[in-house]
């Protein structure tokens, strides 16, 4: 068994969030009835001509600036010729030799906290194709061209990734970035963000690249990871049993968790690229680029660095909290509402309870049922020790489901922490009296029973005893060999 190295490159297609299509004035809104957003240009009627959408170019340049790439002063649209029913012209207007964005880089934090720089070979503008639908049509397909002509930014990475996890981390980072830049809504279910993965293997230490297979149209992070894992295993097994990897296009079947060869693309396509004579070279000057640069928001890495520095967060936590502009904004709003020095508390709650609730109910942060002001209200009650952290979790759940502020719930459910030392002592005394055996065992050395007493006091106080005070008082009262 040899040691294998995996080489992965990703081609990401991000639908640009323009209002109209890249070469026509049709709307790009998702979900319209079939062919109601396809005009003569989109339908490739005889005699029509493309005219380039300025905002698509601005968005491409914005991306280029965000990945420190060279923005081409002159770029050219080329025709990629092939026949497919969802491609009305019989060619796709894309970019070939002179893309609008050339080499750039993106820093990606991996699971273990290591930061890896992934190269971006290029990013270019092109138009999306329509859709083929098969349900309800016997032996036929129905073509909907609403999507035909939607602008895409194709982002091609260098083959720098060495595992499925690295690939997913990169894909997530790109996803975060395009949403930060507001150039793509990143909605994978709607197809706004799609990924093709190029996967090959080679013996460790070998410099030459192995033959690669391309897995097309992966539209979730999970599928990307599983598809790549399957493909790696497939290729290794194939080679180890004496076979050869064929350069081909494959599809991932998520039901069967396997990749399979695409029948219709078995023959190598000769795309016969040539510069589109209907479009002139796109010239981008300094003025244009500077105008776009002014629209750049604080980028994810910049925000993460700021969080780490200003709020003393770990790189990892800062990374999680800056995964989206909305999450970062929420977090900052909460920090701002708390007294200085409680950023970590805010971080823990946003990454913990809040994120769990959002995930559980499949809600995005903009529609969170607890807004920053409300969360501030809750966290302040922890800070001022009105309630314990543990009780706060229950309050949060109640806030989430009832939509009420923290104070109202604390009041209504009588959840105030007990901080009266006398009251706590009283409960401790009662518990000690009720459990003489455990008391004796503890005093004779069974330290672990400290937890038992904590639990009993908490039970008796419905969890409202202030934990710190409880600990201190319990220690005193139990005395002897007790320690917490």
């Amino acid at each position: 068994m040899r040691d294998w190295e995996v080489v992965i490159g990703l081609e990401i297609h991000a639908q640009l969030a323009t209002m109209s299509k890249i070469f026509s004035g049709s709307a790009t809104a998702y979900g319209a009835p079939p062919n109601t957003q396809a005009n003569l240009v989109d339908l490739a009627y005889p005699g029509v001509l493309p005219v380039l959408n300025a905002r698509a170019v601005q968005m491409a340049v914005k991306f280029g600036l965000a990945v420190d790439a060279t923005v081409a002063r002159r770029s050219v649209f080329a025709r990629k010729n092939y026949f497919y029913p969802d491609l009305p012209k019989g060619y796709q207007i894309s970019q070939y030799e002179l893309p609008v964005v050339a080499r750039g880089t993106l820093k990606v934090m991996l699971d273990d906290g290591v930061v890896k720089t992934i190269g971006i070979t290029r990013a270019h503008l092109e138009e999306d194709a329509g859709k083929s639908l098969h349900e309800g049509l016997a032996n036929a397909s129905g073509i909907d061209l609403n999507r035909a002509g939607t602008p895409l930014l194709e982002i091609v990475s260098e083959p720098d990734m060495r595992s499925a996890k690295e690939a997913v981390a990169y894909m997530k980072k790109v996803h975060t970035l395009v949403r930060y830049l507001e150039i793509c809504d990143g909605n994978m279910q709607e197809g706004s963000f799609r990924c093709d993965a190029n996967v090959s293997v080679r013996p460790k230490g070998e410099e030459k690249l192995g033959t690669r297979a391309e897995i097309k149209n992966l539209n979730s992070f999970r599928f990307v990871e599983k598809a790549i894992q399957y493909e790696i295993a497939r290729q290794v097994e194939l080679i180890e049993s004496g076979g050869k990897v064929v350069q081909e296009t494959r599809l991932y079947d998520s039901d069967k968790d396997e990749t399979r060869s695409m029948r219709s693309k078995e023959e190598a396509n000769d795309y016969r690229y040539f510069p589109d004579p209907d479009l002139l070279p796109v010239e981008i000057d300094e003025k244009f680029i500077e105008a776009v640069r002014l629209t750049l928001p604080e980028l994810p890495d910049q925000k993460a660095a700021r969080f780490a520095k200003d709020f003393g967060l770990s790189a990892y936590d800062a990374g999680v909290l800056s995964a989206s502009r909305e999450l970062g904004a929420y977090f900052e709003a909460v920090v701002a509402g708390l007294k200085a020095g409680h950023a970590k508390l805010a971080a823990n709650w946003v990454m913990g309870e809040l994120s769990s609730a959002l995930n559980r109910d499949n809600v995005d942060i903009e529609h969170s049922r607890v807004n920053p002001v409300q969360l501030i209200g809750l966290l302040n009650r922890i800070v001022d020790e009105t309630i314990s952290g543990k009780i706060a979790k229950d309050v949060f759940e109640a806030m989430w489901s009832e939509g009420k502020p923290a104070d109202a719930i604390i009041e209504a459910k009588g959840l105030r922490q007990i901080t009266d030392a006398g009251a706590i002592e009283g409960v401790i005394d009662a518990v000690m009296a009720a459990n003489p055996k455990q008391l004796a065992d503890y005093r004779s050395g069974k330290d672990k029973l400290f937890g038992f007493f904590v639990g009993q006091v908490m039970k008796a106080t419905e969890g409202k005893a202030n934990p710190a005070q409880l600990n201190e008082l319990l220690k005193k009262k139990l005395g002897g060999g007790g320690h917490a």
Binding site: P46, G47, L49, V51, F83, G90, F274, P277, D278
Partner: protein, 483 residues
């Protein structure tokens, strides 16, 4: 009436000596009588024409004036006309009714013209003889056994036969100038980008340009005035002001430098050469100076064109696939069959030849040797013209090597057919404006003289053509039976 020029017709309309409806009826009846022998039309729009004429009359009655208001015209069937069949001379679009107007069509409509119908043409504008049309060949009114030239053969023949005062055409490698020469009319191809291509079914996008057939340079100027101008829907449309083309028609030619292209005169047939000599004498008589200029790369223009044009058209015609409009084969057994038979049956032989040539020259392994090479040759040819225009104002040549040839004579040899374009193609490759005017007869068939100008030099071109037509009367000759 049908021998009057546009200016004269406009005058009579203005003075209400005739109405647009009368004028239209006159041409419609001529068409009914004379077109069957010529086959110059694919679609006649008589009813709509009369309605448009009545509308024009109302505008005239209300005091409105316009150089083309109420004037009938014919559109080459390559221009999309809303609600009217637009076939491009092909079975592929035999059932196609355009849902919109080409910009050229819309501009003429706004100017108040009256469309008599759509003219016959070589299929998808590919041809130099109008013999590849699905609707049968067009005959030359000077001799119906001869071709009228192509691809705008129908518009040329109809204009020569006085079936309309003027007609639109398109010119990719000579498709206006060459048929104009063979039918004894004036044909103008403007500078690339001068006239919008939106709505003009594309053949070779970097070469196609809309233009006009008329019986005089002055008429062509009036038509160009309406056609020319920036169109935001065409990315290759140039935003350059449109001059008043009629204003400078009368400018004297004193000091105009005319270049004789040496490459054109080598091996020119003696009778053709003699006509050009006569024309040059006329020009020197008018005060112009002639001198020789050389375009050393010009001999490359035909092979260059026959790489570039097929390459572009092979891609432009991919949209004809039987899916959203146009011809669809019967009972396709699968998707591949749908494509192959719809296209195989919908397109004629010349179109298929060019699509395949284009596919070949763009294909992997051949791209550099053919397409890229041709694009380099194109630059060399364009540079040659640029240098020439530093020394002269216009260049002159015959429009065609010979007068009209027999129908069927060249159909079996595509290369022989391609060599018809030898004088005209250079202007398309370089995007230059060109005009052909009648300059005499050889074997009782008309011959044309071609003038090529620098970019956006249409005014100078039309002025030179107009002055020539003031000094000669070749352009007034009508074919026998059509006077």
């Amino acid at each position: 009436m049908h021998n009057l020029f546009i200016g004269e017709l406009a005058e009579r309309l203005k003075k209400r000596q005739i109405s647009s409806v009368e004028l239209t009826r006159h041409f419609l009846s001529r068409i009914e009588r004379l077109n069957p022998a010529l086959n110059a039309f694919i679609t006649l729009t008589a009813e709509q024409a009369l309605a448009d004429a009545a509308a024009a009359d109302a505008r005239l009655q209300a005091g409105e004036r316009g150089p083309l208001l109420g004037i009938p015209l014919i559109h080459k069937d390559i221009f999309c006309t809303d609600g009217v069949k637009t076939s491009c001379g092909s079975r592929m679009l035999d059932n196609f009714v355009a849902p919109y107007d080409a910009t050229v069509v819309a501009r003429f409509k706004a100017a108040g013209t009256v469309m008599l119908g759509k003219s016959n043409m070589d299929e998808f504008a590919m041809g130099s003889s109008n013999e590849t049309s699905y609707y049968g060949p067009v005959k030359n009114p000077w001799d119906i056994s001869k071709v009228p030239g192509g691809s705008s053969g129908g518009s040329a023949a109809a204009t020569a036969a006085r079936l309309a005062p003027f007609a639109t055409g398109t010119d990719t490698g000579g498709s206006i100038r060459q048929p104009a020469a063979l039918t004894g009319v004036t044909g103008l191809k403007p500078t690339y980008g001068r006239v919008s291509r939106y709505g003009m079914i594309a053949f070779a996008s970097s070469l196609d340009q809309a233009g006009v057939f008329a019986r005089s340079a002055a008429d062509a100027a009036a038509a160009l005035q309406i056609m020319a101008g920036f169109d935001a829907r065409d990315s290759t449309s140039v935003d350059v002001p449109v001059p008043d083309y009629s204003k400078d028609l009368g400018s004297p030619l004193k000091g105009l430098k005319i270049g004789l292209l040496r490459e054109f005169f080598d091996g020119l047939e003696p009778r053709n050469a003699a006509l050009i000599e006569d024309a040059l004498n006329i020009y020197t008589g008018l005060g112009a100076e002639t001198r020789e200029v050389s375009l050393p790369h010009l001999p490359l223009s035909v092979p260059t064109y026959y790489v570039v044009a097929p390459a572009e058209c092979s891609s432009n015609l991919s949209r004809f696939d039987g899916v959203r409009f146009g011809y669809r084969c019967e009972n396709p057994k699968d998707l591949l069959d749908l494509y192959k038979r719809s296209r195989g049956e919908g397109f004629g032989a010349e179109v298929k030849r060019r699509i395949m040539t284009g596919t070949y020259v763009l294909s992997a392994g051949y791209f550099d040797a053919y397409y890229l090479k041709a694009q380099k040759a194109r630059r060399l040819i364009t540079n040659d013209f640029r240098s020439a225009f530093e020394k002269v104002d216009l260049v002159i040549s015959p429009t065609t090597p010979t007068p009209a040839f027999d129908i069927g004579a060249k159909m079996n040899d595509p290369v022989l057919m391609y060599l018809n374009d030898i004088y005209t193609i250079g202007a398309n490759l370089a995007g230059l404006p060109g005009v052909s005017v009648p300059c005499g007869f050889v074997d009782d068939l008309p011959m044309g003289l071609q003038l090529i100008g620098p970019h956006f030099g249409e005014a100078k071109l039309l002025n030179a053509a107009h002055q020539y037509q003031q000094a000669t009367d070749w352009h007034r000759h009508a074919p026998r039976g059509y006077e």
